[in-house]
């Protein structure tokens, strides 16, 4: 297996911490993604490390007994430590606030605290075996205020920090789940739902294990993931992951089933909206993308792994003086977006982020349409997509035109969605809704938005330069991209048109160019009209095409006059400018110069007479003013036709 084949890898900079042992306790807080190393109950120090911050927080606290759980509130404002099953201790980490610890006992009599979760920087939820209690911490008063509570029997609980939802397992079978949602001091109870347990032999009591449930946000929606193990009684081919969609409002609904086609022990992660399932026996992982097309049976969509199973790329940790040490024992923290693997090296353990490598996937997914669907949903997709585009246009890996069309259509579909969002945002802002509606947000431009300049710069400009490419293919690809843009009603940028023209001109395909222009496939613009003018010496009809284009632009009348004068079509220029009613403002000198250059005396006479008449009409005298700088033309006129030929001023 080549190194380029691994599509899952561990992050560059793991969080490193001391291995857990009787004096050193290690805790992991998923909400803040922090690792706590508590030595001797905190007396000899607590070190807190997160994946993002380089500077670990370290402090000491009194050893008041064994620490069961330790977590910072959001933004590291308040530290909560659970040491007993009835109480949680608090300590402010806010400057100017007392750092003396204060304690909160759970309100429900005879209840045991299973754990606690911070839902904001000052709000905390206690989960007990008899219900939940929602508190507000008042750090300056060093006390807590109960906001709300709810009683029910709890087997175990789970918290999803991104969506601030707590899931409580109730009933004997543990398979009825009760979600609660928390937001700004309010707690709302969502409809409870039941997880269908697979049939089990009668001798064993079926129950839902905490280990088989995970909560994660996938594509902005909260899902409860249930790992349904293979049961011998059913005829399924292996274990499955069932995704229950938990909407903000409304009932929970079973939506997706991920077919693992294996049995054994599994662990789940969600990375970049992909569900990653690790299989312990084979030490390989597979990924699922619920946005890719699956088999829909009317209520549930079945998905298969996007790619063949692969191991995570092995990571070698350099150890001073001792070469490399490969991780021996690995464990996956089941829930949330972070995979942590604790490598049992000599002294240290590591917390990693799992990442998806996109480059190897390009070669593992031969169906380019599906590949695009997959890549367009990934966070860091831009360069990979561009490389896929370049690759499909390369000589060795050349794709067929229908495939190329599909890829362009998928790119432009995303591009158009973004443009539309931008436009409606701009319109809303203009209409002054920005203040009244807090929901109005500027659309985020993700990496999946590849605009024309991206495709031009990274793909097409290099592609047309390739000498070995048959020009028929080059033109077909360019037209396909333009077709796709048009299909999504995206205005095509002139540099794409220029690319088409350049390619056609290079291969002397002027008649094709002419036809494209005739059907307005290449949109009118001044740069394009100028480009056409420059082609006239190679292809005479380009002149006519250019003039037509300038005419249609209707903002290029000056250019039209210049073009006609440069062609010595003085009379035509004058008739044109008169036709649009601009003849009172034109420079007489310019026209007289051009007329003189033609060496056609009659033409000069006509033009000269026209301006004399204009002078007469505008100023009551046929004479030119000194400001018009026509002295030499007057002299020339006299020389050819004599003084008496000058127009006489008419007096009224």
């Amino acid at each position: 297996m080549g190194e380029e084949d691994y599509y899952l890898e561990l992050c560059e900079r793991p969080v490193q911490f001391e291995k857990a042992n009787p004096v050193n306790c290690v805790f992991f807080d998923e909400a803040n993604k922090q690792v706590f190393a508590v030595r001797s109950g905190g007396a000899t120090g607590v070190v807190v490390k997160g994946p993002d911050d380089r500077n670990p927080i370290s402090f000491r606290m009194d050893d008041k007994g064994e620490v069961k759980c330790i977590k910072f509130s959001l933004e590291n404002k308040i530290l909560a430590v659970q040491r007993t099953s009835k109480t949680v201790d608090f300590c402010n980490f806010i400057p100017d606030n007392s750092q003396l610890e204060y304690t909160q006992e759970c309100k429900t009599k005879n209840a045991n605290i299973l754990g606690f979760c911070w839902t904001s920087s000052t709000e905390i939820v206690f989960i007990t075996d008899q219900g939940i209690e929602f508190y507000q911490v008042l750090p300056e008063k060093r006390s807590l205020k109960l906001l709300k509570s709810h009683n029910l029997n709890v087997n175990w609980y789970m918290y999803c920090p991104e969506s601030a939802v707590i899931l409580l397992s109730t009933t004997v079978l543990e398979n009825v789940l009760q979600p609660f949602h928390f937001r700004a001091g309010t707690m709302s109870k969502l409809p409870k739902f039941e997880i269908e347990l697979p049939a089990a032999p009668k001798s064993t009591k079926p129950s839902l294990s905490e280990r088989d449930i995970a909560m994660a946000t996938v594509y902005g929606q909260l899902y409860v993931l249930f790992l349904r193990h293979h049961s011998r009684t059913s005829n399924s081919t292996g274990a499955e992951v069932v995704l229950y969609h938990l909407p903000r409002e409304g009932a929970c609904k079973k939506m997706h089933i991920l077919k693992l086609n294996r049995t054994g022990k599994f662990a789940l992660n969600v990375v970049d909206n992909l569900v990653v399932v690790h299989h312990q026996d084979t030490e390989t992982s597979v990924i699922f993308d619920i946005k890719l097309r699956g088999e829909f049976d009317g209520s549930v969509t079945f998905h298969h792994p996007v790619l063949p199973a692969r191991s995570i790329q092995p990571y070698q940790i350099p150890i001073a003086g001792n070469g490399f040490c490969r991780g021996v024992s690995a464990a996956v923290l089941p829930r949330g977006c972070v995979l942590t693997m604790i490598f049992g090296s000599h002294i240290k353990s590591y917390l990693w982020n799992l990442q998806v490598k996109l480059e190897p996937i390009v070669n593992l997914l031969p169906d380019k349409g599906r590949l695009m669907d997959f890549l367009l949903q990934r966070k860091e997709c831009k360069m990979v997509i561009l490389s896929v585009c370049s690759q499909m246009l390369s000589e060795s890996d050349r794709a067929s035109l229908p495939v190329i069309a599909t890829v362009f259509d998928k790119l432009n579909h995303e591009y158009k969605k973004y443009l539309d969002a931008e436009q409606s945002y701009a319109m809303a802002v203009e209409a002054g809704q920005s203040r009244s509606s807090p929901l109005l947000k500027r659309p985020v431009r993700t990496q999946a938005v590849l605009d024309q300049s991206d495709v031009y710069t990274h793909v097409l400009s290099a592609f047309v330069e390739k000498k070995e490419m048959p020009h028929k293919f080059v033109i077909a690809v360019l037209m396909e991209y333009i077709r796709s843009l048009n299909q999504f009603q995206i205005a095509v940028q002139h540099y794409l048109h220029e690319l088409v023209i350049k390619t056609l001109v290079q291969h002397n395909l002027f008649y094709m160019l002419h036809q494209f222009l005739q059907y307005h496939v290449l949109s009118d613009s001044k740069p394009l009209a100028c480009l056409l003018l420059s082609l006239e010496s190679f292809y005479p009809p380009a002149h006519q095409l250019s003039l037509d284009m300038l005419k249609r632009l209707s903002t290029a009348n000056d250019e039209i006059v210049e073009v006609l004068l440069s062609k010595h079509q003085v009379l035509a220029a004058l008739r044109f400018i008169r036709g649009i009613g601009g003849h009172d403002n034109i420079s007489a000198r310019k026209f007289l110069d051009a007329a003189k250059q033609t060496e056609d005396n009659m033409l000069f006479y006509t033009i000269f007479r026209f301006f004399e008449q204009r002078n007469q009409r505008l100023r009551g005298s046929p004479n030119f003013t000194p400001g018009e700088h026509c002295e030499e033309h007057v002299a020339f006129f006299k020389q050819i036709f004599g003084d008496q030929a000058l127009m006489r001023p008419t007096t009224f």
Partner: protein, 454 residues
Amino acid sequence: MAVAAAGAGSGPWATQEKQFPPALLSFFIYNPRFGPREGEEENKILFYHPNEVEKNEKIRNVGLCEAIVQFTRTFSPSKPAKSLHTQKNRQFFNEPEEHFWMVMVVRNPIIEKQSKDGKPVIEYQEEELLDKVYSSVLQQCYSMYKYLQTLHLQSCDLLDIFGGISFFPLDKMTYLKIQSFINRVEESLNIVKYTAFLYNDQLIWSGLEQDDMRILYKYLTTSLFPRHMEPELAGRDSPIRAEMPGNLQHYGRFLTGPLNLNDPDAKCRFPKIFVNTDDAYEELHLIVYKAMSAAVCFMIDASIQPTLDFCRRLDSVVGPQLTVLASDICEQFNINKRMSGSEKEPQFKFIYFNHMNLAEKSTVHMRKTPSVSLTSVHPDLMKILGDINSDFTRVDEDEEIIVKAMSDYWVVGKKSDRRELYVILNQKNANLIEVNEEVKKLCATQFNNIFFLD
């Protein structure tokens, strides 16, 4: 039928008289070098129509032409005579390749009048024929020789001088879809070298160069398509292979090549055409395939013989796509027509031609039938158009000619930067200024997207 149609066209003006349009008397090709010695004159003649003419008469006629050309050469060495006017007929000479001469003899139009004693008197109308029209026709004969075209001299007019191409008006998106279709077909059937796409006998795309397309277009619209009109009308609603199981229903069929793809002995013979690329003639098979009103010409190098298998593949690749495309085009066309169709029928007719892209547009001509192109105006007016065109050819500059014709008709010719426009107006008691205004209005509505000087 041809004569009847032309006669009907001139009906209102021909109450007492019988009119006979111009007709082809003979057509021959010769090379003086092939039989320079006496007694071998027959060898000079490469082609003679009508073939039934007696041998000696053929030789005499060829000899006369040779003599006339030789004789006129003494006055104008570089430009020998192009035509010879006589009372009864007119002869046209053309030397397309050195020493190869094509001669066409056309009988002048005849009016048969009844004299007082009831005897018919024949009057030849020598001035009715326009040299330029028929010498253009003769030149096209040379280009079309490869297509074996029949001549319809009774209905030649201005459009024959232009030899233009009528383009099908189409929106950008549908046009791009057609582009995409052609590129895909050329990719999957890679022996196809060039493609041309037509709809309603009007051109949409040509992969051939302009001059080659002009000839091919003439062949398609005046010869191939009209011949296939009848079967198409008969079988419009029944796709030919609809009953074939497993075949996608489509309306595609070959206009050249095999008639029935299920027949294992079907002949895959296609007409050959010659196109001019890089100064060398290229020989190609012409495959014309049609679905509803959309026709596609695929051109394949003549060294490759298309097999029945290839034809079947082409049918399966092109048939369904072309059927969809044809209905798309039809739909788009109807939308566009509805959008612009609110205006009432204008009281003028026009012919437009652009020398740069050979685009022609005529509201004077009705649809061309195999034998005649029907015009909706009097032949006298058509002749005025021809005369104006001759005037335009003489000078290079832009100009405008307005002619007052008989019975309230005005004919206006305009020439601007390689474009020509001929307008026929019929307005009671109109004066020159009003006519000029009308033409300006016409230009503003019909030609507002091009640079056409008023």
